[in-house]
């Protein structure tokens, strides 16, 4: 890594203050994306502001209407949480599928969401569940939050503090993981909110998106068979050594059907 300075403030206000004063500073939460990126020299912040001492940013609370997860909450804790398992089991399972146990012990929902990796799992979870991203200054709906590959609606010095999820009627996540990194080659979150069906796809395209044709069909008939012959347009899909765009398009259908079956 290139050299950098490091600070670990113990309050959000202190972190925001430092971030505002220093254009080349970056905040680090779990570091499971930022540190590998810096090791590859793809990022070189002058200053790292470590949020891990700000305990108030972690925690899970919820009831039968909504579940709120603090930005610094580790994936392992979301997966193991009684509150999440009882109210949004599909989200607990999604968190349990991220990376590997050591990554899950450290990685955070705030970090994953702010980064918006095209192959990350949480963006599909948030978009599918119609979540709200809460920051130090406003609230942003998932529909408006994920704007492009590695890009979000966040301002340059804005810090996520929590993510709030309405409790759905049923929801499940199905993923075809890369065997080594376990990133989603394709991951689909299917959610029946009670009034609509949302199908959020990650891994396939540069940014998470909703498969609206599947949503319309599933609203009338929530079954895997109902979307059996739906083909998604893979012409803009990602193409790399792991999978072609065509294969990803095929996987979207397979994972969507698996998610529907799991949610039923």
């Amino acid at each position: 890594m290139y050299r950098f300075e490091y600070q670990a403030p113990d309050s959000l206000e202190a972190a925001l203050g430092t971030l505002r004063e220093n254009e080349e500073a970056k905040i680090v939460a779990g570091g499971m994306t930022l540190l590998p990126t810096m090791k590859l020299r793809l990022a070189r912040p002058d200053l790292l502001i470590d949020l891990n001492r700000i305990g108030s940013l972690a925690g899970i609370e919820g009831n039968s209407n909504e579940v709120t997860i603090g930005a610094l909450t580790r994936h392992a804790d979301v997966a193991a949480s009684d509150v999440v398992q009882n109210h949004i089991a599909g989200l607990a399972a999604l968190a349990d599928s991220i990376g590997d146990p050591q990554v899950r012990n450290r990685g955070t929902i705030g970090g994953s969401v702010a980064n918006n990796d095209p192959a990350a799992d949480y963006p599909a979870g948030l978009l599918g569940l119609s979540a709200t991203v809460v920051t130090d200054r406003r609230e942003i709906s998932a529909d408006d939050f994920f704007t492009d590959m590695f890009e979000t609606a966040l301002e340059i010095d804005e810090i996520i503090t929590a993510v709030r999820f309405p409790v759905p009627r049923r929801a499940a996540y199905a993923k075809f993981p890369n065997p080594a990194s376990r990133y989603a080659i394709v991951g689909v979150m299917v959610v029946d909110t009670g009034s609509e069906v949302r199908v959020a796809v990650t891994g396939a395209a540069p940014c998470v998106f909703r498969a609206t044709e599947m949503e319309d069909i599933l609203l009338k008939d929530f079954s895997a068979d109902a979307i059996l012959s739906v083909e998604v347009d893979g012409s803009e899909f990602n193409e790399d050594i792991h999978a072609s765009a065509e294969y990803r398009a095929h996987l979207v259908n397979v994972m969507a059907r698996r998610a529907v079956s799991a949610a039923s």
Partner: protein
């Protein structure tokens, strides 16, 4: 900058650049070379240690991030000459060949049994997703963990 934490029950301190990785601090500053650098991309798990009781990849942590923590490495498991039950199980079941992945496997497996005392074979194999072995085909690693779980 100054950093201080405890490793295997002993207080340690150092003056490091922020960019010093925890794995490099353990190996180069403290001479604890049982923790290995394999892939350097957070995938292989040869660097797994425990920080405050949870298994983490020390190649993806800065030494300064371990401030005030309790770190356990492979060197901290045995009680004098008496092997930790997980180490004993790996020896008994021939759970290693070259040994490069082994410290990470053992540290990871100990965390598994903390979470799930009697894991199924599937649960063991799923847990080891973050640990890659080139030699053994994982078969005896799984057996070692099953043996250790029997207690």
């Amino acid at each position: 900058m100054k950093v201080s934490f405890s490793v295997n029950g002993k207080d340690v301190s150092g003056d490091v650049e922020p960019r010093t990785l925890l794995v490099d601090f353990l190996r180069d500053e403290l001479g604890l070379t049982g923790t290995h650098v394999g892939c350097d991309t957070s995938q292989c798990g040869a660097c797994v240690v425990h920080v405050n009781g949870r298994s983490l990849k020390s190649c993806t942590l800065l030494a300064v991030q371990a401030q005030d923590s309790e770190v356990t490495t492979i060197e901290g498991l045995a009680d004098g000459d008496k092997l930790h039950p997980m180490q004993a199980a790996f020896r008994e079941e021939h759970g290693l060949q070259c040994g490069f992945c082994t410290p990470g496997m053992i540290m990871s497996a100990i965390d598994l049994l903390q979470n799930v005392p009697h894991p199924s074979e599937t649960e063991i194999r799923d847990w080891l997703e973050g640990n890659i072995c080139r030699c053994t085909g994982y078969h005896n690693i799984v057996k070692s963990i099953q043996t250790a779980a029997k207690g």
